[in-house]
C-alpha cells in the first residue's frame, strides 16, 4: 500500500464539479506535483488532502489511516501557502516553534528543533526578527521551516513560489527540492508553472478541468504526452496538419513524410505534434523526414536560436544551438527541417495521442531539454 492514497475523490460546489474521480497513490518520500492552469482543481485537490475541504465522494489515506473525515489539525501535515502566512505577531523563532509547542514539546526541545530548522534554511541570524522585517524569499523559507519542524507526514506546498521574484523562485525551488530529498518528506506541490514541476518532481499529475490528464515522470510527461492538452500545456509544441496515407505515410503541405498514424484511415485528416528540439536544420541518419518551408521569424535566445517556420497552413518551432561561426538564418528565407519519424506524435481530433505508451525512449533530437516555451 502506498503512503498517501487518494481514491475516487470528487468535489462539487453546488452544481459545479471542480474535481472528478481523482485517484493517486504517492510513495513515501516521493515529490509529486499537481500541474495545470488556473481553475483546473489542483489547489482544491491539495486542500482536500490537507483537510480544509471535504470531498463530496472518495477517500484520502495517509500511512494507512483514513483521514477523509478528520479535521486538518490532527492530520499531521505541513503546509506552505502562496501568501507565506507567517504569524505577524511572532518572531521567526516563535513562528517555527508554533507547531512544536502545539504538539506539546518542552521549551528546550522546541528550541533545539528551531535552531536545527533555521540552520537548515540558513536563516539563523533572523531568529528574533519579525516577518515584516524579512524579504519575501526569507519569509517563504521560514514558512517552510515552520511547516517541516513538527515532522509532518506529508508536506503540502500551495504555489509557494508564485509571489516571489524570478531569480529567488529558481534558487528557492532548488532549495526546497534538496531539503525534501535530504529529509525524505512525502511532498505534494501545486503549481501552474511547468518549469517548476518538471525540474522538481519525481512525478507530475497534469490536471485539466478537474481531471488528472496524465500521471508520470517529468520525462514521460514531456516526451510522451498522452493527450493534446498535456502536449500543449507542458513545453512548446508545433502542430502539423496533414492527411494520412497508406503505410505510415502522411502528406503535409504537399510533401510526403513518414509518421505512425495508428487508427487513421487513408485520406483522414491527422494532426502531428513535434517538440522544437526534435527538429534540426541538418539531416542525419535518424532524421529521415524532410519538410521544405519558409522562415517566419527568428528569435535569438543566446545559447539557443528559435526559428518559426511555415509549411502552408502549419507552423513549426525549431530550436537549434547557437553557432558562433554562422549567423542565424533570416526571415523569409526558404528552409528545410529534418526530424525522425519516431519523434512525431499523432493526435486525433479528440486530442488523444495515438502513440503506444510502451515505446519510451529518448527522442533523437533531445540535445536541448530546455522547456523554453510557455
Amino acid at each position: 500500500m502506498s503512503f498517501l492514497e487518494i481514491q475516487g475523490v470528487r468535489k462539487s460546489f453546488g452544481a459545479n464539479t471542480v474535481v472528478h474521480g481523482f485517484d493517486l497513490a504517492v510513495e513515501r518520500g516521493e515529490f509529486v506535483s499537481f500541474l495545470g492552469p488556473s481553475g483546473c482543481g489542483k489547489t482544491t485537490m491539495l486542500r482536500i488532502v490537507a483537510g480544509f475541504e471535504a470531498p463530496s465522494a472518495g477517500s484520502v489515506r495517509i500511512d494507512g489511516e483514513d483521514v477523509t473525515g478528520r479535521p486538518p489539525n490532527v492530520r499531521r501535515i505541513g503546509m506552505v501557502f502562496q501568501a507565506y502566512a507567517l504569524f505577524p505577531n511572532m518572531t521567526v523563532a516563535d513562528n517555527v516553534a508554533f507547531g512544536l509547542k502545539v504538539a506539546g514539546l518542552s521549551r528546550g526541545e522546541a528550541n533545539e528543533r528551531v535552531d536545527e530548522m533555521l540552520r537548515l534554511i540558513k536563516l539563523e541570524h533572523t531568529r528574533d526578527r519579525y516577518p515584516y522585517q524579512l524579504s519575501g524569499g526569507q519569509q517563504q523559507r521560514v514558512a517552510l521551516a515552520r511547516a517541516i519542524a513538527p515532522k509532518p507526514r506529508v508536506l503540502l506546498l500551495d504555489e509557494p513560489l508564485s509571489a516571489l521574484d524570478a531569480k529567488i523562485r529558481v534558487s528557492l525551488r532548488e532549495e526546497i527540492r534538496e531539503l525534501q530529498q535530504r529529509l525524505g518528506i512525502t511532498t505534494i506541490f501545486v503549481t501552474h508553472d511547468q518549469e517548476e514541476a518538471l525540474s522538481m518532481s519525481d512525478r507530475i499529475v497534469v490536471m485539466s478541468e478537474g481531471r488528472a490528464e496524465q500521471v508520470g515522470t517529468p520525462f514521460e510527461i514531456y516526451n510522451r504526452p498522452r493527450t493534446r492538452f498535456v502536449a500543449s500545456f507542458v513545453g512548446t509544441l508545433g502542430l502539423l496538419e496533414g492527411e494520412a496515407e497508406l503505410g505510415d505515410r502522411v502528406v503535409v503541405a504537399g510533401q510526403e513524410i513518414e509518421a505512425e498514424t495508428p487508427g487513421a484511415r487513408p485520406g483522414e485528416r491527422v494532426t502531428l505534434a513535434l517538440r522544437p528540439e526534435a527538429l534540426s536544420l541538418q539531416p542525419s541518419r535518424e532524421r529521415s523526414n524532410a519538410l521544405r518551408g519558409e522562415i517566419v521569424s527568428v528569435s535569438f535566445l543566446g545559447s539557443v536560436v528559435r526559428i518559426r517556420a511555415r509549411f502552408e497552413a502549419s507552423e513549426l518551432l525549431v530550436d537549434t544551438f547557437n553557432d558562433p561561426a554562422q549567423p542565424p538564418p533570416a526571415r523569409g528565407e526558404p528552409v528545410t527541417v529534418y526530424f525522425s519519424p519516431a519523434d512525431v506524435q499523432c493526435l486525433d481530433a479528440s486530442g488523444t495521442s495515438h502513440r503506444p505508451a510502451a515505446r519510451v525512449r529518448a527522442p533523437s533530437g533531445s540535445r536541448t531539454a530546455l522547456p523554453l516555451g510557455a
Binding site: 490537507a50 479535521p71 489539525n73 502562496q82 502566512a85 504569524f87 508554533f98 516577518p131 508553472d193
Partner: protein, 273 residues
C-alpha cells in the same frame, strides 16, 4: 495672511470658541468655590467624598468586566463570521448597531420585565445578580464600538490563511483564537476597550434604574444638589475621557518594533503560463 485663508481660519476659530467657551466657563466656575479667589476647593471636596471614590471604583470595575465580557463575545463572533459566515456579516453588523438605535431605557425596562425577582431567571433578586445584569447591559451598549473596532482589525489581517496555517500545524480553535487571532487584533480590541471604558464610566440610565451605586447616578445626584462640585466633577470626567482617548491613540499607533498591521504580499492572480 492672505484674504483667501481668512475665511477658513475664522471658521476654525469660531468652532473652537463654540467648544472651548463652555469648557473654560465650567472650569472657571469649578475654581470659584471660595469667594473672591481661585482655588481647587471644589476638587478637594469631591475627592474627599467617599461616595465619589466608591462610585468611581464601582464603575471602573464594571467597565473592566464589560471589556472582558465584550472581548469574549465579540472577537470569536467577528472572527467566525468573517471566516465561515461572510454572508451573515451584514445581519450581524445590523444587530450590533441596534444599541445605538434602541434607547437604553427600553433595554433596561426589558431586562426588568424579563429578569425581575419573580421571573424564571431572577437576576435582580440579589445584589450580585443585579451587578452581573448591569455588566451584561453595558456589554450590549458597548457592542457597536467593540464589534466595529475588532471587525476592522480582522480585516487588516489575512485570517483565513493564518487560520489554515495554524490548523495545518495542529492548533485547535481555542489556540488559534488565543495565540494567533487575538494578538493580531490587540490594537483593535484596545481601542474598542477604551471607548467602552468611556461609555461605562458616564452611563446613567442602566445603573440608575437597576439602582446600582455607579458613577453616573452619583454625577446626577451631585449635579442636582450642589453648586460648584458638579463643575469639578465634569472636569474630572472630561479628563478621564481624554485620558482614554489618548491611550487609544497610543494603542492604535502600535509599539516600536511591532508592525502596526500585518503586511502581506498582494496575492497574484493565478494566471496560466
Amino acid at each position: 495672511m492672505t484674504g483667501s485663508r481668512a475665511g477658513p481660519v475664522a471658521a476654525v476659530l469660531l468652532c473652537a470658541l463654540y467648544f472651548l467657551l463652555p469648557l473654560i466657563a465650567t472650569f472657571e466656575f469649578s475654581l470659584s468655590m471660595i469667594r473672591n479667589t481661585w482655588s481647587f476647593e471644589a476638587y478637594r471636596v469631591v475627592f474627599a467624598d467617599a461616595r465619589f471614590r466608591d462610585t468611581f471604583l464601582f464603575s471602573a470595575v464594571a467597565a473592566l468586566a464589560t471589556i472582558v465580557l465584550g472581548t469574549l463575545i465579540v472577537v470569536p463572533t467577528a472572527y467566525w463570521v468573517r471566516l465561515r459566515l461572510p454572508r451573515l456579516r451584514p445581519a450581524i453588523e445590523f444587530i450590533t448597531l441596534l444599541p445605538l438605535v434602541i434607547p437604553p431605557i427600553v433595554l433596561v425596562f426589558g431586562y426588568l420585565r424579563l429578569y425581575n425577582s419573580s421571573s424564571w431567571l431572577p437576576f435582580t433578586a440579589t445584589v450580585g445578580g443585579t451587578n452581573v445584569l448591569l455588566v451584561f447591559g453595558y456589554a450590549v451598549l458597548a457592542l457597536p464600538y467593540m464589534f466595529r473596532a475588532v471587525d476592522t482589525g480582522l480585516q487588516a489581517i489575512d485570517i483565513r490563511t493564518l487560520t489554515e496555517a495554524a490548523e495545518s500545524l495542529g492548533a485547535s480553535r481555542r489556540t488559534i483564537l488565543l495565540r494567533v487571532i487575538l494578538p493580531n487584533v490587540r490594537a483593535a480590541v484596545l481601542s474598542g476597550a477604551f471607548l467602552t471604558f468611556a461609555i461605562v464610566i458616564g452611563e446613567f440610565v442602566l445603573a440608575s434604574l437597576l439602582n446600582r451605586p455607579a458613577f453616573g447616578p452619583y454625577l446626577q445626584n451631585v449635579g442636582a444638589n450642589r453648586a460648584y462640585e458638579p463643575a469639578a466633577l465634569a472636569m474630572i470626567a472630561f479628563a478621564v475621557t481624554w485620558g482614554c482617548m489618548m491611550m487609544l491613540q497610543l494603542a492604535g499607533g502600535g509599539r516600536a518594533g511591532r508592525p502596526r498591521r500585518a503586511r502581506f504580499p498582494k496575492l497574484r492572480t493565478r494566471a496560466a503560463p
